[in-house]
């Protein structure tokens, strides 16, 4: 299952879906969530999802259904505008709030400290962005983020290269 989470103001996720369909992708194998109009708070850092109600976020808004879908997906694509060369705060908020999928428990993996994941799932992540993103930096960040989730980066693609991104989804 491929999950796309689109926070862009120009809704470029729709174009990615078109591209997928043109390439014969089965509509049951992917889903696009456009977050326009959704209430998605930032992570408030309360640590409840680790220490008080393990696995459950204390902030009650429109995020939980998204996180549940992320937890079932094989690929999560963040479709984001960029500021300061980086993803927008709307996208960063979505990433910051994945902590319920992670546990407080620690381990050492590939020479570095990591948290133990809550579920036996591997959630690979990729980025498709609009605007003046810092490609090299975004690639590094996406790799590091995947490392934290025990998964792999699917790559980072500017809007104009969305065809390539779609090839990674099939």
């Amino acid at each position: 299952m491929v999950l796309m989470i689109d926070t862009t103001t120009s809704h470029i996720g729709e174009q990615v879906v078109e591209e997928l369909l043109q390439r014969g992708a089965n509509p049951t194998e992917f889903e696009l969530i456009d977050t326009t109009g959704m209430r998605i708070s930032h992570c408030v850092g309360c640590n409840y999802c680790w220490l008080k109600t393990p696995g459950i976020c204390a902030v009650k808004d429109d995020y939980e259904p998204i996180l549940k879908k992320m937890n079932r997906a094989d690929q999560v694509w963040l479709i984001s505008d960029t500021h300061f060369g980086f993803v927008s705060y709307q996208t960063k908020n979505i990433v910051d709030r994945v902590m319920p999928l992670v546990t407080m428990y620690l381990k050492v993996k590939d020479g570095q400290m990591r948290h133990v994941m809550r579920y036996d799932r591997q959630l690979d992540i990729g980025v498709i962005y609009t605007g003046d993103g810092d490609q090299a930096y975004l690639e590094w960040w996406c790799k590091r983020t995947a490392l934290n989730l025990g998964s792999r980066s699917l790559g980072v693609f500017e809007e104009a290269r969305r065809k390539e991104a779609v090839l990674c989804m099939l």
Partner: protein, 229 residues
């Protein structure tokens, strides 16, 4: 020198580790006769006031926790609202995190290094150090002990070179842990570590296993939806 210090953590000030670090850091500033004003972005009501302080002053320090390899979403949102300034203003950073090794903070540091250019201002360096997760979990005395080294960094900052000096770079500690240390950590994490976390959770009123797969096993709250707080 007069410094504006902004706590970039989304966590309420009372529980913020960054806040405790700032408290120790500013002791060092005071020691050296540097005045300062502090703000916290966790309270949105104060954003206008913080922007005003940012606009009026030339020595700005943003202290922040690492959030998923970069700056917290809330801080990104705040940064997007800052007015453009010129290179009379110097922007420095104090980046702190949960994981202990220096290598864990480099991706965040790299973002902060480039950020001043986007805002039109000058970069004053970034103080990098991890191993701070536990601050909020311990008593006041232990908190002061953990954050004490930051006081010397306040004194260094007061000398006027931001965090660009060698002493600031050394503050990070080990970039990676050696193999023997990693092996010991691995054992501690599996045993004592787990117990300590479970105990901390108990003091928060939580008695379920911290690694419970709530969305697979929980039935009493209906369709695996999990409980609310």
């Amino acid at each position: 020198m007069h410094a504006v210090i902004i706590n970039g953590s989304p966590r309420v000030q009372k529980y913020s580790n960054t806040e405790k670090i700032i408290a120790s850091f500013t002791k060092g500033l005071t020691e050296k006769g540097v005045s300062f004003e502090t703000y916290a972005i966790s309270d949105r009501q104060s954003w206008e006031m913080i922007r005003e302080a940012y606009r009026k002053n030339e020595e700005i320090l943003i202290a922040l926790p690492l959030y998923v390899e970069c700056v917290p979403g809330l801080l990104l949102e705040f940064l997007e609202t800052l007015p453009e300034k010129d290179d009379h203003t110097r922007l420095s950073f104090l980046l702190q995190s949960g994981f202990a090794e220096g290598c864990q903070l480099r991706c965040g540091e790299a973002f902060l290094e480039k950020l001043p250019k986007y805002l039109g201002v000058r970069y004053g360096g970034c103080l990098v150090k991890g191993d701070n997760f536990g601050i909020r979990m311990v008593d006041k005395e232990k908190q002061e002990q953990i954050t004490k080294p930051y006081q010397a960094m306040g004194e260094l900052f007061a000398e006027g070179d931001g965090f660009l000096r060698e002493e600031a770079k050394r503050f990070t500690g080990p970039e990676y842990f050696s193999l023997p240390i990693r092996l010991i950590m691995q054992i501690v994490f599996r045993t004592l570590g787990k117990k300590m976390f479970q105990k901390a959770a108990a003091s928060w009123g939580c008695h379920t296993p911290l690694d419970e797969k709530v969305w697979e096993t929980n039935s009493e709250c209906g369709k695996g939806e999990g409980g609310s707080v």
